[in-house]
Amino acid sequence: MTLQPDDFWSFSEWLLRPESFLESALLQGVVLLAFATLVGLLVAYLVSAVRYGPSEGFYAVARGVRDLFRDDLPGTSPRRIFALARLAYKEAIRRKVLVVVALFLVGLLFAGWYLDPRSSDPARLYISFVLTSTNYLILLLALFISAFSLPADIKNRTIYTIVTKPVRATEIVLGRMLGFVGVGTLMLVPMGLASYFFVVRGLRHTHEVVDIKDLGDGRFSGKLSYDQFHEHTFTLEATGDTDGSVLEGVTDYVRGHRHIVRKVGDRYVIGEPTGALRARVPSYGELSFTDRSGNLDVKGIDIGAEKGRGDYGSAGIARLVGVSREARRMEFGYVEGGTLGSAIYAFKDVTPQRYPDADGIPMEMALRAFRTIKGDIVSGLSGSITMRNPDNPKIESTPINFVVQEYDVSEERLPRQIEGTDGDQIRTLDLFQDLVTPDGRLDVILRCIDRQQYLGATSSSVYLRPAESSFAWNLFKSYFSIWLQMVMVIAFGVMFSTFLSGPVAMVATFVCVLLGFTAERIYDIRYYLDKGEAMGGGPIESLVRLVRQDSMTTDLDVDAIAAKLIKGVDSVLVYTLDVIATSLPNLPKMLSTAEYAASGFDIFGSLLARHAVATAGYVFAAFLIGYFFLKTREIAA
């Protein structure tokens, strides 16, 4: 999993962005709210003006605002909201929405058909499958239940049975939202449980011992059978606490897991797969590079690999107004082998309390290798890890060598005691006393040993692992993230349904979700438009190119006036879409928590907090808009 810069932000960094406030989420929220209020008031005034005349219209709007603050908000009663929520809940259940759970279960039954059994990391595949399918199903469900309910009530006039009672519009809107959220939650629980068992059971398998060799020194080496498209090798040793009749050992890591093998008498006991379902809690460091001469470098060497695009979104309003234009995707930076080039990770909070293990600090690496010459084919690229005291660079450990394992997480340990240099002196260094500063900082330096070869690293490539969380808890967090998305969609659905008919409200909500999902693409298009680079152009230009079967990067081959017209209309469209997409919730970002769970990383608390706050903000906005529209309808009625 390669993290992007904004994944590392803490909650406050995200909210305030101390260095560049223009990018802060708070500003984006405030601007959005102000903008929405302004547009809302304007539209409300225009509508009222048409209905009641210019001055009377103004008073009507003012009355509406006054009512909200004087009567409706303070008068909103949790008891009535709850009653209305129960109503919405019952109504949804009567519409047999629980069928969706059955649908999900059927999906799980047949999932095996479409999931590659030969995958090199089945856990990842299974987890992302259950999470994404749950996500899409739940969003779809939220869309349907939320959009149709109110319009149906209004159409059937059953709404009068409610509005004639002493309930407020705030309560109706909130009640609906809450009721539907309740239904959604009710469904997420069995889906979550089913997912958990599906993943755990799907990965469960066992092997048999097919080959065993006596190594002579009391140890045995052997091989396990080829099952589930893989096999393991293992070594058995006598366990210390028995008389030698029980041997124990672990297999090698294959497809992200290993087994514990025990030999009791003549019988072999092969344990469950372990290590496939993890939730590592990483502690990342700040990454910087040095070039071949040892000078500090920001990005490392670019080896010219094809780059992914995106992550414009993290610049918030700054991107929208054109202050920040570049893609912020983090790419791998490379270190040249056999030179002074290095990648330096500056870790914080390295304390004995966080890392109590006497063997040393667990460190994990997911590096890349790049060769410019064939070199030694059989051995992998080798690198070295050096620990250094950030305050006193003269205190440095001797390098620990390692071989790069690409596309795999390799585990290393930073030992508590290690040989090293202290100025001119060579002595045994203590990790926490000599190498770590009193405030818990430590520099870890990676170098590539092989000449003319390169080692690639990014901020998330190397991390210390102070703890391990449980997979079940991590899955729960992913489900919480899905729950947040569902809440958001329900809020939008209810909001639209206060003034649109059922199907239209559904389409409107759907468009919002779709725009949220494709936001990065829209930013991309705008990026090329701003830069004046031909890359397919906006919607109309793309259509023309599609029909004419033109390439994306050629000049648009139509006459000058037509081209001008097309590009003009396109920029209006793209800029408008950009504004809309920026104001909508960034759903892919929320969906990406699934990636954490799938890759075996604990979902950061700050990430969930960010999503929760964003959701709360959007729900509040949707609630306000919904309230006003319902209010107008009441007045009309």
Binding site: T2, F110, W113, Y114, L115, D116, R118, S119, S120, D121, R124, L125, S128, Y226, F229, E231, A305, E306, K307, G308, R368, A369, R371, T372, I373, K374, G375, I377, V378, G380, L381, V404, Q405, E406, Y407
Partner: protein, 596 residues
């Protein structure tokens, strides 16, 4: 409208519906199963063109469900998945890439190009992204497995079958890491099991190498043979020339022999491998190969064609020799002064222009037999015209055969097989191998002795088969000679150094058999001038691993294009390889640099 007219309308609608159903029934009726009942028009057409699902390959319920679930938007879904797959590739998310490719294949199982393209993508492009050769091998295997699944789903895709054979041979056997790949493959039992499931005879002696384990070249050949059987049973070869389709199988036997020799198998097993290769090449020469002309040819029958041609010419000469000579005179008389002058000057004194002219004239001055026959005396004219027609036909076949032989370098491979199966060639190779090993072990005296024995033997072999100058062997030899020079610590050789003419030829522009023979003759007469040759790439005697091929050969062998000018099928050029992959597809990710 009253009630009765409403009823009448309903009746009319019903009739119309029934009338419309009749053609539908006739068109879509399924086959009854009995003979003569081929079903409706659509069913018959499906059978005729072999595009019924069950005809094409295994029916996969997952695939069918997926097709249904896409609600007719199969193309759109596949396109989206395709772009997703590309995104995953850019972001190096291999697992997801594979999962997506899987889904594309489920959606479009009969789109052959998809299998081909993406298998290539996995085996050649993605595999090169890994640093560990074992991971690279497993990715190559993924590609091959993908292709195999494609074959299962498309039983009559001759090209896919051929391509699978190509992958087994070329990708495993010619990569930078071929030594490791070949070893991994021969020990890859699960893969062998899958081959068995695909009805490839991995257990037959024909698919096993000298160590008794399956050999990638021979397994590749088994796939190719499967393809040849398929074509022989009436399936068409598409998107490929037949000559190229047929040459690969026999070629893989040759490659197998080369591979085991380079790995140090230099005894009877190597000899027998070359004998089998020779047999295969021989049978390839006897295969009828369709051509761009309306007739088929056999590459091995060029001598017969030549004899036929001569016999026919002789018969014609006997019949209408007079007319022929008269016609020749007529043509000669028609020349202008300049042309006469060009012909009169002896060939070696002609200017370039005159030389060109003379060449053209030689063709022009030969009377055409069809013309001669028409002018022949009336008594023999009919017979002459008939013979001239036959001659023209034989001539066309000869020309075609000759040109196709040139395309696959038929004669070269044939000679190579003959030369390599001789005891002395195997012995010479063994000596060279031992010499290199001794050199690498720093046993200089032993190395020099072996080198000298090997060179003497090689000189004899090249005397008999100068065509070997074209072989990779000659580069090998040159390198060995350079190492030898370092070992004896001299810049030049004695006059009677057996490979002296060989060195001269290799350093000259003209690397032809004739030139070699000329220089060899000069050497025998003691007239070959000694030249001090610069030591190329002085090689550190310790740099070469024991049993390792000298560096240059690795490089030459890594070129995915066959050396015989068949157009390098399939080169990366014929693939719309995604941006940024071109380099990775044509060579490996880690290009071989000349070392030393």
């Amino acid at each position: 409208m009253n009630r009765s007219s409403g009823f009448r309308n309903k009746l009319i609608y019903l009739m119309v519906m029934i009338a419309m159903l009749i053609p539908l029934y006739l068109l879509g009726q399924p086959a009854g199963g009995s003979s003569g009942d081929g079903g409706g028009q659509l069913t018959q057409m499906r059978t005729k063109y072999n595009i019924a699902e069950s005809e094409l390959g295994d029916i996969n319920p997952a695939s069918e469900t997926m097709k249904l679930a896409s609600l007719g938007l199969r193309g759109v879904a596949a396109t989206l998945l395709w772009s997703k797959a590309n995104e995953y590739k850019v972001n190096h998310e291999w697992d997801r890439l594979k999962a997506t490719l899987n889904n594309i294949a489920l959606l479009q199982p009969h789109y052959e190009k998809v299998w081909e393209f993406q298998a290539h993508n996995l085996s050649y492009n993605v595999s090169a992204e890994f640093d560990d050769y074992r991971q690279r091998y497993s990715m190559v295997r993924e590609g091959i497995e993908y292709l195999t699944r494609g074959v299962e789903q498309n039983r009559k895709a001759s090209r896919l079958v051929w391509y699978t054979g190509w992958f087994y041979g070329q990708k495993i056997g010619m990569s930078d890491e071929k030594r490791q790949f070949r070893k991994l493959f021969s020990d890859d039992k699960p893969q062998h099991e899958e081959l068995r499931e695909s009805n490839i005879a991995v257990d037959s002696p024909d698919a096993r190498g000298p160590d008794g384990k399956p050999d990638n070249w021979l397994v590749g050949r088994q796939w190719l043979l499967y393809g040849y059987n398929l074509v022989d049973s009436g399936v068409k070869i598409r998107n490929q020339t037949p000559i190229n389709y047929y040459q690969t199988g026999p070629k893989w036997r040759i490659k197998h022999a080369e591979a085991i020799e380079s790995e140090g198998v230099l005894d009877d097993r190597a000899k027998s491998a070359w004998q089998q290769a020779a047999d295969d090449w021989q049978s390839f020469g006897q295969r009828s190969v369709p051509t761009t002309s309306p007739f088929t040819i056999k590459l091995g029958s060029i001598l017969e064609l030549d004899q036929q041609r001569q016999a026919l010419t002789k018969q014609l000469m006997d019949l209408a020799g007079e007319t022929y000579r008269a016609e020749e005179k007529l043509l000669r008389d028609g020349l202008n002064d300049q042309e006469r002058e060009a012909l009169a000057i002896p060939p070696e004194e002609r200017t370039q222009e005159q030389g060109m002219l003379a060449m053209q004239l030689e063709v022009r001055l030969k009377p055409m037999w069809s013309r001669v026959a028409r002018k022949a005396p009336e008594k023999v004219r009919l017979r002459a015209i008939q013979l001239a027609g036959e001659l023209a036909d034989v001539e066309a076949r000869y020309q075609k055969t000759d040109s196709y032989r040139g395309q696959v370098n038929y004669e070269y491979w044939q000679t190579l097989c003959t030369a390599e199966q001789e005891d002395r060639t195997v012995e010479a190779r063994r000596l060279l191998f031992d010499a290199e090993k001794a050199n690498a072990d720093a046993d200089i005296d032993q190395a020099i002795q072996k080198y000298e024995q090997a060179f003497a033997m090689w000189a004899e072999i090249i005397d008999d088969f100068p065509v070997l100058l074209q072989d990779e062997l000659s580069d090998d030899l040159m390198r060995s000679i350079n190492r030898y020079k370092v070992a004896i610590d001299r810049e030049d050789f004695d006059d009677d150094f057996p490979l002296h003419p060989f060195i001269e030829v290799m350093l000259s522009e003209k690397k032809t058999s004739e030139e070699y023979r000329r220089l060899r003759q000069l050497q025998k007469e003691g007239k070959l001038e000694r030249r001090v040759t610069p030591t190329e790439n002085p090689v550190d005697p310790t740099s070469s691993e024991p049993g390792d091929k000298p560096d240059g050969q690795e490089k030459a062998a890594d070129d995915p294009r066959p050396t015989d000018g068949t157009g390098g099928e399939p080169s990366a050029g014929d693939k719309p390889a995604p941006e940024g992959d071109v380099e990775a597809t044509t060579s490996e990710r880690t290009p071989t640099l000349p070392q030393g």
